[in-house]
């Protein structure tokens, strides 16, 4: 199940690339439409499977958040050698990784688009006994349990939800559960990123849904208030859940992202000279 994708313009001098990161237990598949939209807007797009994801489901039990960061840094460095401007974007865990890249390469990242940033697991979908989660995460119990990928699957639009549900049953779009070991690493990564948010200075676009079922707007608000970027924008969606790239306002998210990249790219495309 090779879900990685690269959308590269052939026979052109594209100097701007967008590096995408998927969410926890997800796959680059969830970024395909978004990536294609950005590609159609003239940017080269790269999305790879994060360590611990993909064919070998068992790897999610052994992967560390440092592996995700190392992988992201390596990808960014590779793209930075080839392109003048590299934007980083991600959804859920991918958004936290994108922030991590922005912190490390604050002078090199052209901009960060952070979608449904998951710094806190405090969405409305979590059961009332989720206050016990820290106990499970910090003890052996994290090896025994996986939080089920259940309704509403992060999607408000019922039609899209039923399609995603079918794809999840087939195993085509990622894992059916969130293993606690993966959540444990996400929590550790979020904590680390929160600690260094004040060092983040790149331009950033934060998109978060008011009704996010997995992580409340507190995450986006925390990022927005703690970063030192002069150029920052926070957009709160009113008619979506966690998976903003597939939900009711997906077109707006796509347009907004493309607009952000267009505004922040240093590359001046040649304009036909008028006589």
């Amino acid at each position: 199940m090779a879900l990685d994708f690269k959308l590269i313009h052939k026979n052109s001098d594209t100097k701007c690339a967008v590096l995408l990161f998927h969410g926890l237990t997800g796959s680059p598949f969830e970024l395909k439409k978004y990536g294609t939209f950005l590609y159609n807007n003239g940017y080269d797009v790269y999305a790879d499977c994060l360590p611990g994801h993909g064919d070998k489901f068992d790897e999610i039990y052994t992967v560390k958040y440092q592996d995700w960061l190392k992988f992201a840094y390596k990808k960014f460095e590779f793209l930075k050698e080839k392109y003048d401007d590299v934007f980083v974007s991600g959804l859920c865990l991918g958004a936290v990784i994108a922030l991590g890249v922005g912190i490390k390469y604050k002078n090199e990242v052209a901009g960060v688009i952070s979608l449904s940033t998951t710094l806190f697991l405090d969405g409305w979908r979590l059961p009332w006994y989720s206050f016990l989660m820290p106990v499970a995460l910090s003890t052996l119990i994290r090896f025994y349990y996986s939080y089920p990928e259940c309704e509403p699957h992060g999607i408000k639009n019922e039609k899209v939800r039923s399609i995603i549900k079918k794809l999840l049953e087939k195993g085509d779009v990622g894992m059916n559960d969130f293993p606690m070991t993966g959540i444990y690493e996400l929590v550790k990564l979020s904590s680390k990123v929160r600690k260094y948010l004040s060092e983040f200075t790149c331009p950033i676009l934060l998109i978060h849904s008011k009704e996010d079922d997995l992580t409340s707007t507190k995450s986006a608000e925390t990022v927005y208030s703690k970063i030192k970027s002069q150029d920052k924008e926070k957009v709160i969606l009113n008619n979506s859940y966690h998976m903003v790239l597939y939900d009711n306002e997906k077109d707006f998210v796509y347009e907004k992202s493309a607009e952000f990249i267009k505004q922040h790219t240093s590359i001046q495309y040649e304009v036909p000279v008028c006589c």
Binding site: L132, V135, Y145, C150
Partner: protein, 104 residues
Amino acid sequence: MLLKIFISLGILFSISLVLYRFFMKKIKNYTTKTRMVALICLMLFLYVLSGILIFIIHPDKFLFLLFALSPFIIGKTAVYKYEKYYTFIQILIIVISAFYASGI
């Protein structure tokens, strides 16, 4: 009274951990599974709490603090590959703690 609660919780936690780890891990009903894990977490939380309370009341009984914190120490050092062995060590420590508490 607190000692009895500590012993009971330790025994209950050990039994439920063994049952869940070796027999019930493959349950397909997620609601049942989630509630069971939540119950195990609650027992563990109360075990830790009672251990800490005993230590506060009897500061000379330093071992209670170690017993209470053992799930977090083991959890921090455990790796997936050797998870079975860590589970065994965890249960052993809780059983020892129950014996130690009953001897006081």
